[in-house]
Every structure is written in C-alpha cells, then in structure tokens.
Subunit: 227 residues, 2 copies
C-alpha cells in the first residue's frame, strides 16, 4: 500500500525582510561581517563559537549575539573569554528575527567590530526562514543526528553558505555515512562549503578559520596582506 500523505500549506510571513535589509546596510557601513549560526539543540553552536573566538580574535574584533529561549548559560561561557556578548531571550519564540537583532545591536554596539557571530535558537527548522541581515548563514549538523536530515529539513541546508559537520570524533560509534550525507547536501545546494570538524578536539578548525578569515577580508575589500 502507498503511504497516505497530507500536505499542509503555510504562509510564510515576509514582514521580516525590510528590517533585515536595514540591518544589512548598517553592517556594511560599519565593515562588520555577520555570521548567522544555526543548528538543532546540542549540535555544538556554543562550543564552535568558543573555538572561533580562540582562533580569530587575534586578527579580528569579535562580538557575539546569543539567542536562547531562556537562560544565559551560553553567554556566560563566552563572556569568560573577554568577548562582548548580548543575550536575547526569546521567551518561547523558536527563532531570532531582524527586530530582535536590531535591539541586540544597540546593546552590543557594532562599531569597530570586524565580526559578529549570531547564535540562533537551537532549531533546525524556523531560523532558516528569517534573514537577520547577515553575510552568511552557517549551519551545523552533528554526526549523531544522522545523515538523513537534509531530506527531512531541507530549507536550512539549501539556505546556508557553509555547513559544519560537527562531532566527527563520534563517527566510529554511529551509522553516519559521511559520503552519502555530503552527496545529498551537494545535490540540494551545489555551492555550499562543507567542513567536517570536532569542536571538542579542534579537528578541522584550521581550515574553517582560514575560510572565515578570507570571507571577512573579501567583504572588507581589503587585500589579504593588509590585515
């Protein structure tokens, strides 16, 4: 017998776009490169940010916007590294929107920041629909989540410019098929840049750091040698 399928259409509100465009302009004027970091809960967003702070803060002035439904446990971890951080508590909302980021930017102060990393709410679905004026959307899929996720949560995989495949240190203990996973993702989004990493061990972060630094420099239209 065939699987019975019911399609439920849903209008996606576009009200966020105007504010996101304003944010984008403000980031450009300030020469601030912005990464919107998205992933399911527990994929390793905060530990990735901590690694990037470690590897990028010598060359770039970094700020962080932390989005969580509740608590400031992640913000406190980042603040311990002497990096400016603003916590957004969405009080139940499942994603960040441009309105929240506008408020957060006035708290953070983007002037003089080369790089702002926005840690979105842990959710593989909703955050992908809301532009935040960012330069790039970067997502994380962690190995224990399984290699079948792109087909089930396609939007984030097609919207992202970079994909971190995190927790590669757990690969031997799972059924994760790296080759099949990358093939599926590439078919959906041929231009996406993929980085197998482990935020726990640091594996793969050299290449990732280099790529991000390059993106920042390209956005600033400054030659690689001047910074």
């Amino acid at each position: 017998m065939a699987v019975k399928t019911i399609n439920v259409n849903k209008d996606i509100l576009g009200v966020n776009e105007a504010l996101a465009l304003n944010l984008k302009k403000a980031f450009e004027i300030n020469n601030t490169f912005v990464i919107n970091l998205m992933a399911a809960p527990g994929a390793g967003k905060t530990s990735t940010i901590l690694r990037l702070i470690e590897s990028l803060s010598a060359d770039f002035k970094i700020g962080v916007i932390e989005g969580d439904i509740a608590s400031d446990v992640d913000s406190r971890k980042i603040q311990e590294r002497d990096v400016e951080v603003v916590q957004i508590n969405t009080d139940g909302a499942c994603h960040l929107d441009a309105n929240m980021i506008t408020a957060a930017c006035s708290g953070l102060g983007i002037e003089g920041k080369d790089l702002v990393i926005i840690e979105n709410v842990g959710n593989l679905v909703c955050p992908a629909e809301f532009n935040l004026g960012e330069n790039i959307k970067m997502m994380i899929l962690s190995v224990p989540e399984g290699h079948d996720k792109p087909l089930k949560y396609p939007l984030m995989f097609t919207e992202s410019q970079a994909l971190l495949i995190n927790k590669v240190d757990l690969t031997p203990y799972t059924d994760f098929n790296m080759e099949e996973f990358q093939k599926t993702v590439r078919a959906m989004n041929p231009g996406i840049k993929m980085f197998p990493v482990s935020a726990k061990t640091g594996a793969g972060f050299g290449e990732l750091t280099e790529w991000i630094a390059q993106q920042i420099r390209t956005a600033k239209k400054i030659s690689g040698s001047s910074k």
Copy 2:
C-alpha cells in the same frame, strides 16, 4: 561586567485548544491511547517508534502519524513493519497542530486502534506549545545533545509526562552527566518519568514498554489481566 539581556515577549496563540479538545474526546470514545512524541532532529524518534512497534504490537493494535516538514522516509520505514501510517508534510511548519491531526485521523482511521503514536516534527521548541488531544507527551533527549538542554529549552521538559534519554550507548564518548541532567529535569518537573534507553541496542526498552502498556491499560480502565 553583567551579561546584557533583552527579553522578547511573544503571544502564544490558543486557537489550537478547541480542536485538541475535540480530538481528545474522539480518542476517548474510541478507547485509543495517544502518545505525542517530540524531540530535536536526530534524537531517535523513528527508531524509538520502530522499537515500540516491535514490543507492543503483539498486545495492541497500533497506528502511527508521521509529521515531517518534507519527505516520507520515516513513514516508509514504519510501513515495512505492517503498521498503518499516515504522513503529514507540514511544508515548512515547525510543529504539528490539532488541525493537522484531525485531518490525519480521518486518513488513518482511529477505530479499533489501541495506540496511536504521533511523531512530531523534529524540534525541541515549538511542538511543546501545541496540544494534539494526546494522553501523554513523551519527549526524547539524546545523550550527544548535552545535559544542559533543560535550562535552555524548558517548556518541553515541563510539559512532558515521560522523557526518554536516548543513545546511552554513546555516553562514554561524551561529557553527558546523567546525574546532573536528571536532577535538573526533576527540579523542573517532579512528576516526569525518565527512561535511559538506546534505540540502537534496545537497552531500557523493556521497562519503557511495560510502562506504556500499563498507561494504555489504565486509560482503558481494563484490569491488567484482561489484555
């Protein structure tokens, strides 16, 4: 310096409740016990359902409602076990609502079903806000997601009657602190029933199966010996 925190309030729509109440009545009339299974992507919802089909289908007539944003890969896995399944594709929506379940029930036919398991969209946030007329909300948190999740995604932990701590086979390779995790959860939701399990190895499923069977029988108000 203190962490700057911005609170963003959000109205949570209650329009779902009337439909959920109708569903609840329909389930009661049909003597159908309904589990709303929620978790982040990749926590192991489908593999848990497959295990429960294996252990419960000798005693109970089971139906499954599969909620996904896209694809029917999970439905096909369940159909292979000769269990009736209806696929809901939400087309971007991040959770199931009572309206979708009403439509799915007319496709599935709840008459004669002892147990309907609803696999919600993979999301640790939004599904917790929407009642589906279920008897119990059961959630999964998998070990690689980390023991700090209850503080960051509190609603699902406080709304659920049962919590499966899945992928315990990966515990030795992670920093997951089972004792701390259970203590945090119990402080938020003292009545919650917790089951450390592995859908991969089958560990812990004996106790879980027994508990679910007991819930079904209690709901049916039939003595344990008659079924």
